[in-house]
């Protein structure tokens, strides 16, 4: 296989084109002052050249379809092919977002039922599908908390409490909503430090953002107690749905006492990650936040489905997208949920947890150190390579890079930030035991290399299309667009 591929501009020749893709020339009149003077510098290539180039580029990637991808907190499970093919039926693709509702009853019925299924599986009272990614769902959630307090005239509540283990998006979102962030520590066992929480609560508390199971890979056991304390202080609870896969069909955030939740449909409901998007971050709310949901939401009048907008929800936090969000992604999630059905939801949590605990037990047996040894793994767990870093000078990043040589995508490294030299490992429910065993064998060989030939790890990867890249040069000598003769 070729290891590198030229930039498409290098294949370009003036006058070449994919001819069958061009409509006939048309004569148009544009005022001289508004005309483009030079054609844009886009590549001029044949159709085969483009097809071959992008196919080859695809072959330089790791992906779920080609590699085990135990990337903690990202839920890289199988994306069923049928979810894609049914979301791409020509009628769905051709539908304009502003076409009359009468021409979209089939599509709207799927969205309405999806809202209902998400409510049922999370224990929330209403759902809006419009946020286009997890971070936008978070934004919607905190914006609703803000709107709720304001609607009650409780204007001093401007603090969001975030555990230090949280995803970076949590504090970034709170800031985007004009809130101040108060971080609180986690205890030795990985649970939230309740004393620190109590000290942080007060008349300025707008709410708390929690992930459960937490980013430390353990279930927050005192969640009901935490919910009671936050509610008693007048705050609301926000559930970051990053780890919903671990409890799907077993426990519901609504029953834990959460007021608002965002779901990452690209994790739990298996819509594609697409090399970094599209995501989809539907939000669910308790009764008291229903009036503030972002619009549009699908409603039903008699037998007809229709969009509910600002006229139906005058207190809405507003619109987050140009239309209704990532409709095509939502269709994929809908198909996935219908295939899973009631029983399948529960199996997601059960088998993702089984796979994680099996991996943890075996990695521990071969000498890896769990970060929270006294705890059950949820659907993911953390190992720490502190000892190897100290004694052999090899880091978590070296282990991660060496795994690539074995054909396994690296686990999440250096997150959560509070566990030194950590790997966060999430196998997901769709991996077979043989795949896990292969990964364990690779991890065993890495341990051996760390003690005998640490250079193998420090220089890894060796077999990927490129070896470690010079990030410092990338940031100091920015080369962000192709130039005819790039700076050397």
């Amino acid at each position: 296989m070729r290891q590198t591929e030229p930039v498409i501009f290098e294949l370009s020749r003036p006058g070449r084109s994919a001819r069958s893709q061009q409509p006939a020339a048309a004569q148009v009149n544009i005022p001289e002052s508004l005309k483009r003077r030079q054609p844009p510098r886009l590549p001029e290539v044949s159709e085969l050249q483009a097809v071959r180039h992008y196919t080859r580029l695809s072959q330089l990637n790791f992906s779920i379809d080609t590699n085990f991808y135990p990337l903690g907190s990202c839920t890289m499970k199988y994306n069923p092919k049928v979810c894609n093919s049914l979301a791409m039926l020509p009628e769905f693709l051709a539908r304009h977002p502003l076409a009359p509702e009468s021409t979209g009853q089939g599509f709207l019925s799927c969205m309405y039922e999806l809202q209902g299924m998400l409510e049922a599986v999370t224990g929330m009272k209403a759902v809006s599908l419009t946020p286009m990614a997890g971070a936008q769902g978070e934004f919607a959630g905190v914006a609703m908390i803000r709107a709720y307090h304001r609607a009650r005239g409780d204007l001093q509540r401007d603090e969001i409490i975030v555990p230090e283990a949280a995803h970076g998006t949590n504090p970034a979102t709170a800031t985007m909503c004009g809130m101040k962030v108060r971080e609180i520590p986690c205890g030795e066992d990985g649970d939230v430090d309740v004393a620190a929480l109590e000290a942080a609560l007060g008349p300025r508390t707008a709410g708390i953002m929690l992930t459960n199971p937490s980013t430390l890979g353990v279930f927050e056991r005192r969640i009901r107690d935490i919910a009671a304390k936050v509610h008693a202080a007048g705050g609301l609870l926000y559930y970051d749905g990053a780890n919903l896969n671990a409890i799907l069909g077993k426990v519901r955030p609504g029953d834990m006492g959460f007021d608002v939740i965002h779901m990452n449909l690209h994790k739990t409901f298996s819509t594609p990650h697409g090399g970094g998007g599209p995501g989809s971050g539907a939000v669910g709310v308790s009764e008291r936040l229903r009036p503030f949901l972002p619009v549009p939401v699908v409603g039903r009048d008699g037998g007809r489905y229709r969009w509910l907008d600002e006229r139906d929800l005058p207190q809405t936090i507003g619109r987050l997208s140009g239309f209704m969000g990532n409709a095509g992604v939502l269709l994929r999630a809908y198909v996935y949920m219908r295939i899973l059905g009631r029983e399948g939801m529960r199996e997601v949590a059960e088998y993702s947890t089984l796979n994680a605990n099996y991996l943890l037990a075996r990695l521990r047996a071969i000498g890896y150190e769990p970060a929270y040894p006294g705890r059950r793994a949820s659907h993911e767990f953390i190992i720490t390579l502190q000892r190897q870093a100290r004694e052999q000078g090899v880091t978590a990043m070296d282990f991660a890079k060496r795994l690539l040589d074995h054909g396994y995508h690296a686990p999440t490294t250096y997150f959560p930030l509070l566990v030194p030299e950590c790997l966060l490992i999430e196998p997901t429910e769709t991996e077979a035991r043989e795949e896990l065993d292969g990964f364990i064998a690779a991890m065993a060989s890495l341990l051996e290399e760390a003690s005998r030939e640490p250079e193998k790890l420090k220089g890894a990867p060796w077999t990927t299309p490129v070896r470690r890249l010079d990030d410092v040069r990338a940031a100091r000598q920015l080369d962000l667009t192709w130039q005819a003769s790039p700076a050397a």
Binding site: A50, L89, G134
Partner: protein, 457 residues
């Protein structure tokens, strides 16, 4: 029916290794009173065959009406290779390229995309895309406030000729951070920004002016004069542009004497299907001097240990996973899949192809306006140059007319009575290169029929 590979034997062996009696035992840290007894509200599982049949039926219910709406999303021909390649598992099922060595394909596509978007908009740098055009404008406004340190007002001028949904979206996303938004009126005859209204703003501290070209009505603004006005007053300019139009129209990097500061817009016209509103992608390009204020992912070219060229995410210290509460935005994802489709689309069309698409759209819209205004009771709302959309005025409410057309399999346009009531019974309509002369005649004939029956009713 879940996608679980485990045999009974696997489960037995795995539980033995863990030292647990049952799968249920693995949930023993969860307080028992929290566990669900029975999950209601989720229908029973379906096989692939059953679900396929159901979805085909629902799709068939919606059919494929003949589309004449634009208003921010446009029906274009999408070359067959675009989605054949984009849905390859190696692209579709890959994660964000944090492990650069395992993601060179995705990273190089982003680099090529950044290069193409910078070229198309006439700007110097591009990010790896945002969620969509509307939310992208919100990010652009926040970016302008960060980039313009001397302006203390955080005041953004948003003309009434900007897509009203974009305006709503900007208020929802950027309004929580203290930005103020000020209207600019338009001239009733031309559907373009009223330049005389600018005088009233003399002396006010303005952070940025937003300019949409072609504007929401499809009309072409006098962008040179507007950009110069803003720059003379020390304000930044944010352009909202249609990427197809840029093959013909002057790119925002060349507007006025020194070009705009930020260009953004909806990327959907570049190879992304209409699909009820998403997933699409937003693009955002800017000047080199503002690169660190840009939200979202950015890819750079560098070298590996052996000196071979390669690609990596760069300038990550601006982002949420490092800066947390001080990040430029909470955004994590780009719209990788859609950006990939757009990159392939632009490669297949090339400069000539895209120019032909743009010209064909303009020509068809001209023919559409001509055909529809021949119908009694319909006339153009504005004079002056436009791109591929037009506002038409009718002598009766537009809503029922659109319903009548829908019953005849035609999606005729967008009723503007809610967003722009001052225009009376106004319809925003569009024809792209996908509409033939026959389609246009069919629309005109159907409209005449509907108007007769609506009048009769």
């Amino acid at each position: 029916m879940s996608y679980i590979p485990h045999t009974e034997e696997d489960v037995r062996l795995m539980l033995e290794t863990i030292g647990a009696d049952s799968i249920e035992a693995l949930f023993d840290e969860i307080p028992p009173e929290l566990k669900i007894k029975e999950l209601s509200g989720i229908p029973p599982a379906l096989g692939e065959m059953e679900v396929a049949r159901m979805m085909h039926e629902r799709a068939a219910r919606d059919g494929r009406p003949l589309n004449f709406i634009g208003a921010g999303a446009y029906e274009h021909h999408i070359p067959a290779p675009v989605w054949a390649i984009t849905t390859r598992g190696e692209i579709y099922s890959a994660y964000t390229p944090y492990q650069a060595e395992a993601s060179q394909g995705t990273l190089q596509v982003i680099y090529e995309y950044q290069s193409m978007m910078a070229a198309l908009t006439g700007m110097e740098v591009s990010n790896a895309s945002l969620y969509d055009g509307a939310s992208g404008l919100a990010e652009a406004c926040l970016m302008a406030v960060r980039a313009h340190r001397r302006s203390s007002s955080s005041r953004i001028l948003i003309p009434r000729t900007v897509n009203p949904t974009y305006r709503s979206c900007v208020e929802a996303i950027a309004g929580t951070q203290g930005l103020q938004f000020v209207d600019l009126p338009y001239v009733r005859e031309s559907g373009r920004i009223d330049l005389t209204a600018l005088d009233a703003l003399a002396g006010d501290d303005v952070t940025a002016l937003v300019l949409q070209q072609p504007n929401f009505f499809g009309q072409l603004e006098d962008v040179d004069a507007l950009v110069n006005w803003a720059h003379e007053r020390g304000a930044l300019v944010i352009a909202v542009v249609n990427p197809t139009s840029l093959a013909l129209l002057k790119p925002p990097g060349e507007w006025g004497s020194r070009g705009v500061d930020i260009a953004c817009g909806e990327g959907q016209p570049l190879g992304v299907p209409l699909s009820s509103g998403g997933p699409y992608f937003g693009f955002l390009t800017t000047r080199s001097q503002h690169v660190r204020q840009m939200p979202g992912r950015i890819v750079g070219r560098t070298v590996d240990l052996e000196g071979r060229p390669g690609f990596t995410l760069t300038l990550q210290a601006r982002e949420q996973h490092i800066r947390r509460g001080k990040a430029t935005s909470n955004i994590c994802t780009n719209q990788g899949l859609l950006m990939t489709a757009a990159t392939i689309y632009m490669s297949l069309l090339g400069p000539t192809g895209l120019e032909r698409v743009a010209a064909a759209c303009m020509e068809r819209t001209g023919q559409l306006v001509e055909a529809l205004t021949r119908v009694p009771g319909v006339r153009p709302a504005f004079t002056g140059a436009r791109f591929h959309e037009a506002v038409l005025q009718m002598d009766r409410p537009v809503g029922p007319v659109l319903e009548g057309l829908a019953a005849r399999g035609i999606v005729g346009g967008l009723d503007l009575s809610r967003s722009h009531p001052e225009l009376g019974h106004a319809l925003l309509t569009c024809a792209t290169e996908t509409r033939t002369a026959e389609d246009i005649e069919h629309y005109a004939a159907s409209l005449a029929e509907v108007l007769r029956s609506v009048q009769a009713a």
